[in-house]
Amino acid sequence: MNVDEIRSFVIETFLFGNPERLTDTTPLLESHIVDSTGILEIVMFLEDRYGIRIEDNELTPDNLNSIERIASLLKKKGVGLV
């Protein structure tokens, strides 16, 4: 796994290529970069791309509300960081 890959997905999908508003700690929801359906898209992307399963009770801001938090969730799930 490469953090850049997650960042690129968010930038392409929700910011249409413009990275200005996004740092690795920007809260995705409160900054209105993604909404609840966007969170779902991110989850689908992660499950698909890394072959992992994100449980219902893992759908929390602690796990998914920034690039940094997504990266640590993936790490916890054994996806290796590049």
Binding site: E12, F14, H32, D56, T60, P61
Partner: protein, 527 residues
């Protein structure tokens, strides 16, 4: 005798007299009682009045769902003003349009929104009430007022005006088929009337605890507050739908009884790996409106949560609500939105205004005291949509929605007369999207349509013809839109074509574009 109040705030005041210490609002980790909200809103009203807000003045709110937004709504109407709620995701251009169109002299916002407010400040004369730390108020804010100072008015020289229920309470901005959002004029009487009908058929009482994650700029979200304060319940206000696990925790913790959904939220819940039904046992009912609630969702909820009442409802901001499907018909006729609610008349008529027969299709016409007053500043469109009846108070709302009736008089939604797009229960004007994209230097022609989407119902798709020699891609178009349109209006799909298909009379052939969209998406999926 304790007569029912006439004004929206009269119901808050009555609940505050009846249950002063009861929790009215749970929000931002705070619990506010009825007497606290009543007191805070009166203080804000005095603060606004002493700073010049007069009866009938519009005041725009640009805030996240928050306890301040609730206090502000009631403070504004107590001061005799008319509240206008801009979406929390509004772009500078939309906020500017709302301030200008509503001719508001006041904006209540949070310092977190300062960058957007700054963009439209220019030479405009409106004043801002700022919520949040005073050191974050941008310089050159003119005659700014601090929220905490505005609340400092327990009494003073200002007095609050006497109002009647035909005074305006709100302008609710929503997209129409043409151009920019329009403000729908709602009197106190319209709002109280709609809310009473809904409370009656849902059967709410003071034991209900409502979870509202919908934005207050959306009438469905707004009325959760207004209705709860009328029947004396508790409303748990979330900032947005957000993450599902904390939302389910909130339902458990607060023992929520009523849960208003839109179909996109219902789709998200049903996409969970397993809906945790045992954690939802406090729920008494779930409602859905904003777009047709897919039959498949209704059947799944019935199967998983058989003890919960499901209200499948239909309405439009121009009259708030029209009807709901009676509970006993939910299994038999889940594709119907039922019949008119109490004190509301719904008719389906053909082109000559005659009632249609079962099986035929016609336009839905609504006649009721919850039919609003028309569009602010737009008498021409108002005349087309809100037509006169037999006497001055008798007005007929021409919804622009096609319906068919079955033998039992149940209503089935068929489609729209115009091309209005519904995404996540919110209206999107194709024209507004087209106008933005057409202003891009590289674009020769553009058409926006709605295409089906599993979660959102519909999403926006555009077909564009680029100008010769201009190098532009789909991402560039989306980025261009993102600066001027709210996220749900930004096209999900951008397809380049050499020319747009035309009908024999030269108009863009939207039916053909719909077919092309289906083919394009199939291609996207298989690639």
């Amino acid at each position: 005798m304790d007569f029912d109040p006439f004004l929206v705030q009269g119901w808050l005041e009555r609940s505050s007299r009846r249950w002063p210490g009861k929790t009215a609002l749970v929000c931002d980790n705070r619990r506010l009682t009825y007497s606290e909200i009543d007191d805070l809103s009166t203080r804000l009203a005095l603060g606004l009045a002493s700073n010049g807000v007069k009866r009938g003045d519009r005041v725009v709110l640009f805030l996240e769902n928050s306890s301040e937004s609730v206090v502000a709504i009631y403070g504004i109407i107590k001061a005799g003003g008319v509240f206008v709620i801009a979406e929390a995701t509004a772009t500078a251009s939309t906020l500017g349009h709302i301030l200008e169109d509503s001719q508001s002299q006041w904006l209540i916002t949070h310092v977190d929104k300062a960058p957007i407010v700054k963009e439209i400040r220019g030479g405009s004369s409106w004043r801002v009430v700022w919520i949040g730390p005073s050191d974050r108020i941008p310089p050159n804010s003119g005659q700014a007022l601090l929220w905490d100072h505005a609340l400092g008015h327990r009494e003073g020289k200002a007095t609050l005006p006497r109002l009647v229920d035909i005074d305006l309470a709100a302008l609710i901005y929503t997209s129409g088929s043409t151009g920019k959002p329009k403000g729908i004029m709602c009197t106190h009487h319209n709002i109280v009337s709609a809310a009473r009908s809904i409370i009656q058929y849902i059967g709410n009482d003071e034991n209900d605890i409502i979870l509202n994650a919908l934005p207050l700029a959306f009438d469905y979200g707004l009325y959760q507050i207004i209705m709860t304060f009328m029947f004396g319940g508790t409303v748990v206000l979330e900032r947005s739908v957000g993450f599902l696990e904390p939302m389910i925790q909130t339902i458990e913790r607060e023992r929520v009884t009523g849960f208003p959904l839109v179909p996109s939220l219902s789709a998200m819940l049903l996409r969970l790996k397993r809906l945790p039904v045992e954690r939802l046992e406090s729920l008494r009912y779930v409602t859905s409106t904003g777009a047709v609630w897919p039959e498949a969702h209704i059947r799944k909820f019935r199967e998983l949560l058989p003890h919960i009442k499901l209200f499948s409802m239909y309405g439009l901001t121009e009259c708030k609500r029209v009807g709901f499907l009676p509970l006993e018909l939910i299994d038999e006729c889940p594709g119907s939105v039922g019949r008119a609610m109490p004190n509301c008349e719904a008719m389906v008529v053909d082109g000559s205004g005659q009632a249609i027969r079962p099986g035929e299709i016609g336009e839905l016409i609504v006649r009721a005291s919850n039919v609003m007053q028309g569009y602010w500043n737009d008498p021409e469109t108002t005349k087309k949509v809100f037509k006169g009846g037999r006497y001055p108070a008798d007005r007929l709302l021409h919804t622009g929605d096609w319906f068919r009736l079955d033998e039992d008089g149940l209503l089935y939604f068929v489609g729209r007369r115009d091309d209005l797009i519904k995404s996540s229960a919110r209206r999107v004007s194709p024209r507004e999207v087209e106008d933005v994209i057409a202003s891009h230097a590289g674009i020769a022609e553009v058409v926006a349509i709605g295409v089906p989407d599993e979660i959102n119902g519909q999403v926006v798709a555009v077909f564009v013809v680029a100008k010769k020699g201009k190098n532009i891609d789909g991402l560039g178009i989306k980025a261009f839109c993102e600066k001027q349109l709210e996220p749900y209006k930004v096209p999900r799909y951008v397809w380049f074509v050499d020319s747009l298909p035309k009908t024999p009379n030269g108009k863009t052939d939207k039916k053909r574009l719909g077919e092309m969209a289906a083919v394009n998406r199939e291609g996207d999926r298989s690639s």
